[in-house]
């Protein structure tokens, strides 16, 4: 049951609006004063806020919005602002109204429902996506892995990791490190787009870790192409003098001077076809073990978890 906090006069003007919302599994909470509304947001946050632009004094409306948007844990609560044609004609300063969408009066129950569902869907999309690469994040990744496990066909769940990324970041700075992460994201997306578009998935776990899922027969060509493309593009991100030497000296995590190799990629692959694994957590555990081995090899490599192969 999704709870929608509705603040203001006559937003759900007719009983039709309310009936439709309830029929679709929403629980509208109608509140008319700032105090109760903010209390609810603080103590028992709703899943969505719909607020009339003319709610209370101007400052009251803004206070309510800030209660939602000013708190990091609540920024994923979608906010819909109810306005009139007149407001639209005069325009808004969206900096003062940190809302996600507007509803223009008068609106039908169906339109209200569509806007609510769209706001929810968009929030899930936006919030799960990595801000740097714009790729889906952990929630989507876990779902995608589970889908692959449950499917009849066999898929390869492939974990990409950038070797020597931390010393690269220490040496050249975060902004360069971000460029490298973005580069790997684009390479993976483009290769999968070209070689294995249908039924595939690419996600960004965070930092320098990515996951992609492709049909079993596509694992080899996709991994090989990603590694080859990375080795072509990589040199654009490493200064000529370091390329010449082929390594660099940086302090490791214990502060000891260590020789680090240049950037390379490691891909650990787990196949779902043998049904050895039934849960996404098992797949990622198996992949971590494979990653440990593949990262020990020189340069860019991929490795398939043998236990997950059929027969």
């Amino acid at each position: 049951m999704k709870r929608i906090l509705i603040v203001g006069e006559n937003i759900v003007g007719s009983s039709e609006h309310k009936i439709l919302l309830e029929a679709k599994g929403y629980q509208p909470l109608l509140i008319r004063d700032l105090h109760s509304a903010v209390s609810l947001i603080l103590e028992d946050p709703p899943d969505m806020l719909i607020m009339d632009i003319d709610f209370g004094e101007k400052q009251e409306g803004l206070a309510l919005l800030n209660a939602v948007k000013g708190c990091l844990q609540k920024t994923n609560i979608p906010v819909l602002l109810v306005v009139t044609e007149k407001h639209v004609a005069t325009g808004f300063n969206w900096q003062t109204y940190p809302v996600d969408d507007i509803l223009v009066r008068p609106f039908s129950p169906e339109l209200m429902l569509a806007r609510i569902q769209l706001a929810e869907a968009r929030m899930i999309r936006v919030f799960d996506n990595n801000p740097l690469s714009k790729l889906p994040g952990n929630t989507s990744i876990l779902k995608a892995i589970q889908r692959a496990i449950d499917a009849d066909e066999s898929y390869g769940v492939c974990y990409i990791d950038i070797d020597n990324f931390k010393p690269y970041n220490d040496r050249y700075g975060f902004s360069q490190g971000d460029d490298v992460i973005l580069m790997v994201a684009r390479i993976a997306v483009n290769v999968i787009d070209e070689l294995a578009r249908d039924g595939s998935f690419v996600g960004h776990v965070g930092g320098d870790d990515f996951v992609f899922i492709v049909g079993e027969e596509k694992v080899k060509p996709v991994c090989e192409r990603i590694l080859a493309n990375f080795d072509v593009v990589r040199n654009m991100f490493i200064p000529a003098e370091d390329l010449k030497v082929g390594c660099y000296v940086e302090k490791d995590r214990q502060g000891r001077e260590t020789i680090f190799g240049l950037l390379s990629l490691s891909i650990a692959v787990v196949m779902t076809g043998s049904h050895v694994y039934s849960h996404s957590g098992e797949v990622s555990t198996a992949a971590s073990e494979v990653k440990h081995f593949v990262k020990q090899k020189e340069g860019s490599n991929y490795m398939i978890d043998r236990r997950s192969l059929k027969g």
Binding site: L182, R186, I187, K244
Partner: protein, 289 residues
């Protein structure tokens, strides 16, 4: 600077879209429609066209893709942009409405120059030969911009070249108060291309003016002269530009080196000439269909 010259500068700085050879576009359009075409195959064609190559580099170095002033290699640009962006680039590319034989000649000259640059860069063991051949491919991009933006002056330039028997470069300086190398440098800079490309394009007639990229500029400078000497394509005039003595010294090539370089270049030019013929017939096909 007089107002006329300031007007030229303004017009050239605001150049939006450089047109491409119709034959190249129709070939790429057919390739894009074929589901078996790979990004690599498209890339091979794009990397034979000075204008599309410049556009590709402009795109990959724009803020939207997140790599400003980083990518100077066409292969890397193609890998980072991917098939769909490249397809859109082709759809968004305009073609020369009135194609003159000169456009084809300049295209051949650019392609030939890239071939020589690549041979020279490998022989001189520079760190990234592909970067140098890319710079060679797009070194005359300023000529295309002048042609597009200053159509009226272009006729006068041609006349000046013929009557006074001077090079296009000298005619540009006399009539416009600026030259195509300078214009190419501005364009490359305004497109956020890496400094290496910007500087070597801007200084390809005077490599010693380059601050950090003297060697790259010298390689383009010499390749420009050599390919003209071999009679493959031209850059709107029939004169071979004068060789800069200091660039020549920088390259440090012996007579025997030159013999070997010419041999390697001629071998590679066979491929290029085959491709030229293909583009010519592609053009005829698109005209008749």
């Amino acid at each position: 600077m007089d107002t006329k010259q300031a007007d030229f500068r303004k017009a050239l700085r605001e150049v939006k879209n450089l047109p491409t050879l119709p034959g190249i576009i129709s070939k790429l359009t057919r390739m894009a429609e074929d589901p078996d075409t790979t990004t690599e195959q498209m890339g091979k064609v794009i990397s034979k066209d000075h204008i599309l190559a410049a556009k590709l580099l402009k795109l990959v170095n724009s803020a939207f893709y997140g790599f400003p002033q980083k990518i100077s290699s066409l292969n890397s640009a193609i890998i980072l942009l991917g098939f769909n962006v490249i397809k859109s680039l082709i759809i968004s590319s305009s073609i020369f409405e009135l194609m003159e034989s000169q456009d084809m000649e300049l295209w051949e000259h650019s392609l030939g120059c890239a071939v020589v640059c690549s041979v020279l860069a490998k022989r001189l063991e520079v760190s990234d030969p592909e970067e140098v051949s890319t710079a060679g491919l797009i070194h005359d991009i300023g000529k295309v911009a002048i042609k597009m933006e200053l159509r009226r002056e272009c006729e006068a330039l041609g006349q000046l070249v013929r009557e006074k028997e001077i090079s296009m470069l000298a005619a540009e300086r006399e009539l416009l108060g600026l030259d195509h190398a300078e214009v190419g440098g501005w364009l490359a800079k305004s497109w956020n291309l890496p400094p290496k490309l910007v500087e070597s394009i801007a200084c390809h007639h005077n490599p010693t003016d380059a601050k950090d990229e003297k060697l790259t500029a010298a390689i383009i400078h010499f390749s420009d002269i050599l390919i003209r000497g071999l009679g493959y394509g031209h850059g709107d005039d029939v004169w071979v530009p004068p060789l800069s003595k200091s660039a020549w010294e920088m390259l440090n090539l012996s007579a025997q080196d030159i013999d070997e370089i010419i041999e390697q270049v001629e071998e590679k030019l066979w491929d290029v000439k085959g491709f030229s013929l293909e583009i010519q017939s592609e053009l005829e096909r698109s005209v008749t269909s």
